[in-house]
Amino acid sequence: MDIGSFLINAILLVFLAATAIAVARLQNLFAGAMLFGIYSLLSAGVFVVLDAVDVAFTEAAVGAGIATILMLSTIALTGIKHESIPIRPLRSLLLVAVVGAALIYGTFDMPRFGDAEAPAHQHVALRYLQQSGDEIGIPNVVTSVLASYRGYDTLGEVAVIFTAGIGVLCLLGGSRRRRTDPADKS
């Protein structure tokens, strides 16, 4: 990664952190949901800079689109202000510090960013990149991996997501109908 990309990424990460802190400090939940929209836009920018274009694509659809709507639906069912509960800052800080340290420790075993010797680039990835065009005939490698090499896996995944979607729709749509019915009669 050259210096320009590095700088862009660093600035985007600073924005990301600032947004996260602002979300945590806001009392108004609607404003928080709006800031989460900005958060996912920013993280998509980070993904693009990190070359994870397909992840950025997903973030666009899920983070900026559906997640915001889901959060707003939840707020509509509950309330716009969140109750301030007494928190013990020291204990929370300790917990966050321990979990954060464990996560950072975990990254020590990971290959360096962009390392050509990384295990992920050693086994099937090479073949996918070099031969998927001839074998499958789809120009986008990610698509041929997801829909062909790993087709059954994707089918199962999609089935799970579809079921979850129906479940969410039943929960949200059903309760809204119950709530508006008495209002119509009055």
């Binding site: 404003a31 836009l41 693009v48 707020i75």
Partner: protein, 94 residues
């Protein structure tokens, strides 16, 4: 030269973020998010050219669409949903 454009967009992102943090009304925040979406489209397009791979434009295209749909959905929700019926537009206390 692309880096100058990217820098301009990043500076504007910071300004928009400040507006989103300050509010004071809900509409200011929605405006800031909508405006932020346009800037994301710009920065993705510019970055694609900066690294010499204009294929990134596909994502910029998707963002241009989703941003609009998102804003309209939020507004529709805000106007017809249960949100903010008690205090629709007063500066939301932070």
């Amino acid at each position: 030269m692309y880096i100058a454009g990217i820098a301009a967009v990043l500076v504007t992102m910071a300004l928009t973020l400040a507006r989103a943090f300050m509010g004071p009304t809900v509409y200011d925040r929605i405006l800031a998010v909508n405006s932020f979406g346009t800037k994301t489209v710009l920065i993705i397009a510019l970055y694609g050219y900066f690294t010499g791979r204009p294929d990134f434009l596909d994502i910029a295209l998707v963002y241009a669409l989703i941003n609009f749909i998102g804003t309209i959905a939020v507004l529709k929700f805000f106007e017809y949903g249960d949100l903010g019926r008690d205090r629709p537009s007063q500066p939301d206390d932070i």
